[in-house]
């Protein structure tokens, strides 16, 4: 067991691509931290740097407080589970699992005993004599886990280990990995591009983009208090809706104008966002979670008018997509963090909301969206950073009262 740290870690590939831009990451002893981001964000590079498979251009990697920059992968005492499992096709499952023990010259009897123990724990005992090609994806995944677990390493590194499994198996293995990790208490860094995996597995989650860690926080914090518009958009499914809004100060206090609709900001909300008054007369990006608004009758003056253009059944819920009379931020807004988010690119504001069957609407219906101002998120239009929030308890209280 050991803590892991990347300090001021930078990696530039020979082709000039900067995969890691001076990142700092600390993973506590026994903690499970998930690195999440879209492909090419540097998450796998960071993991490989910890493993010793990638040399940093500058900065350092520490395991248990010791700089391991000059140590080879073999000497770092870490175990890694690869995306394609990395099983040796010509070896039986038993030999695959025991490979690391053989390489470390563990006595034969002990090898056998440890392989059997792990095989029992992972329910792969009947497969020990088979070759990897004779196994299903889920079984291969277990064998790869077994190979990592059997060595009892200081750190587990997992590089999208579930991405090749079907959805159901993925959910099952997700729980299993978390259970095993909690039981063993081994420090683990887990890389994924799947935000659901990140949210459900990580004690803390680092959201990465273009070689940087944008936010490292607990899943709750990431969802409730995203540091910027990229994190807000990345965490949550369906993702947060973004609109351009203008802060208006008038005799009645502050309001946010979305298109022609004026959404009043109650004093408790203004207190929760101390800087929001400074944005009076300026536009900012307003984030609306899919569950932060309700469908009202057409013509409701407090609501945002719109028209339903698509309805999707999710099972117990409906996903309703509405074109609203408000503008969406463009790729240039939010510090360029959202180059591709607005697929249509026409500046038309669109909101997707999750509703129970009772609130179902049909495509083509005119509707009014009644926003819950207490659940709105505000981001600077230029930088994409979230506006400064007041201390957490105050905000939580606001959310609870729905004001």
């Amino acid at each position: 067991m050991a803590s892991v740290a990347l300090r001021d870690a930078r990696k530039v590939y020979p082709n000039g691509v900067e995969a890691l831009c001076r990142i700092d990451l600390e993973v506590g002893d026994g903690e499970l931290v998930v690195l999440v981001g879209s492909s090419g964000c540097g998450k796998t590079t960071a993991l490989r740097a910890v493993a010793g498979l990638e040399q940093l251009s500058s900065g350092s990697v520490e395991i248990a407080g010791a700089d391991v920059g000059a140590t080879t992968a073999a000497d770092r005492d870490v175990a890694m589970v690869f995306q394609n499992y990395g099983l040796y096709p010509h070896m039986s499952v038993a030999r695959n699992v025991a490979f690391g023990l053989r390489a470390r010259r563990v006595p034969r009897d002990e090898q056998r005993e440890r392989v059997l123990r792990i095989a029992k724990a992972l329910d792969i005992e009947p497969l020990l004599d088979r070759k990897p090609r004779e196994l299903s994806g889920g079984q291969r995944q277990r064998v790869a886990m077994g190979r990592a677990l059997v060595r009892d390493p200081r750190v587990f590194l997992m590089d999208e280990p579930l991405s090749n499994l079907d959805a159901r198996l993925r959910v099952q293995m997700r729980g299993e990995i978390v259970r095993i990790q909690r039981e063993l208490g081994t420090t683990t860094i887990y890389v994924t591009h799947d935000q659901v995996e990140a949210m459900t597995m990580g004690q803390r989650v680092a959201v990465m983009d273009r070689g940087r860690i944008l936010q490292l926080a607990t899943p709750e914090e990431l969802y409730e208090m995203p540091a910027n518009v990229f994190v807000a958009r990345f965490m949550g499914s369906p993702p947060i809706n973004l609109l351009l809004g203008e802060i208006v100060a008038d005799g009645a206090g502050l309001a946010c104008r979305l298109g022609q609709t004026l959404v009043r900001l109650p004093p408790s909300l203004v207190a929760a966002w101390p800087d929001i008054g400074a944005y009076a007369g300026r536009e900012l990006i307003v984030g609306v979670r899919p569950d932060a608004f309700e469908l009202g009758a057409p013509g409701d003056p407090a609501g945002l008018p719109g028209r339903v253009y698509l309805v999707e059944l999710l099972g117990s819920e409906w996903l309703v997509h509405v074109e609203v009379e408000a503008r969406a931020p463009s790729g240039d807004d939010g510090g360029g963090a959202l180059p591709t988010w607005d697929a249509a690119g026409d500046g038309q504001g669109r909101l997707s909301g999750r509703f129970h069957a009772a609130q179902r609407a049909a495509a083509g219906d005119g509707v009014t969206l009644v926003l819950d101002p207490g659940r709105l998120e505000f981001f600077d239009r230029d930088s994409g950073d979230a506006l400064v929030r007041a201390a957490v308890p105050e905000r939580a209280a606001d959310a609870a009262t729905g004001s």
Binding site: A73, N84, G86, Y88, P89, G100
Partner: protein, 278 residues
């Protein structure tokens, strides 16, 4: 209409392939037919199977011309030179695929470039070297030279195969604590078996068919190989050619390779066309 045209095209293709096959097999046919004929009966109906076949040519060439000994010598030269070449080439190919070092590209190109040098160009310096070492007419001389000349080709073949082996496996092994040597022995070699077999067979075939090297480095009769024996046999004992005898000798020399190819045809082709990715 369309099916008829397709059938005609298919028939044309088959006809062409059949013609190519016949042309290719014709020399083998002549070889076999002639080898069972008597020297006297060959003239005239040489191309037709004889009604009075004889094994005399085989027994004569095997017993009297020392083809038994030559067969053993050829086998030793082929197998040992091929084994040495494959062993060295496997190490070199692994090095080129798994290590990044200064001058790697240049070295690889230089090594592969030596494939373009005809052996006859280097045979004199090699002979001088071997004779300085006192190895001419020693078993080792032709084996070393033959192996050395095959190393670039074998390296090239194995390099192209090993390059396709999934990197992830070596990285997994590295993280698991395996040394480079263990990675070579336990992962690279077993995963390259199809290519190793193919390379071994091709190198052995080259050595089996080699005339120049054994002729120059194994000058004693005791060390003569089948190809040397055939070269001696070709002009005939008294100047006149004994075609059936020669053909029996050729058949003996062709047979092991033909059998090896027939048995290992699929594996051989797989090793040539497949990469290591699976």
């Amino acid at each position: 209409m369309r099916t008829a045209r397709r059938r005609a095209a298919r028939a044309g293709e088959h006809g062409f392939l059949l013609a190519v096959a016949l042309v290719s097999l014709f020399p083998l046919y002549v070889m076999l037919v002639a080898s069972f004929q008597r020297a006297t009966s060959l003239s005239g109906s040489g191309l037709l199977p004889t009604l009075d076949p004889t094994f005399e040519n085989y027994t004569e060439v095997w017993n009297e011309f020392g083809f038994d000994r030559m067969f053993v010598n050829s086998t030793i030269l082929s197998l040992s030179s091929a084994a040495i070449a494959v062993l060295l080439a496997a190490g070199a190919a692994y090095g080129f695929t798994r290590f990044r070092f200064a001058g790697r590209g240049v070295l690889l190109v230089a090594l592969i470039g030596t494939m373009a040098i005809p052996p006859i160009v280097v045979i004199v310096p090699l002979f001088v070297m071997m004779s300085d070492l006192g190895l001419v007419n020693e078993m080792s001389s032709a084996i070393i030279v033959q192996a050395g000349l095959n190393v670039p080709f074998a390296t090239f073949l194995l390099f192209t195969y090993m390059r396709e082996l999934p990197h992830e496996l070596f990285e997994a092994a590295e993280v698991d604590g395996a040394s480079r040597w263990r990675q070579f022995v336990e992962i690279a070699l077993p995963m390259s078996v199809p290519a190793l077999v193919t390379t071994m067979v091709i190198c052995a075939m080259y050595a089996w068919n080699e005339l120049l090297i054994p002729l120059i480095f194994w000058q004693t009769e005791q060390l003569a190989t089948l190809m040397v024996g055939l070269a001696v046999l070709a002009p005939g004992r008294s100047g006149a050619q004994d075609i059936p005898l020669l053909m029996a000798g050729v058949t003996i020399s062709v047979l092991p390779l033909a059998i090896a190819f027939l048995v290992g045809r699929k594996a051989l082709v797989r090793g040539l066309v497949e990469g290591g990715e699976r």
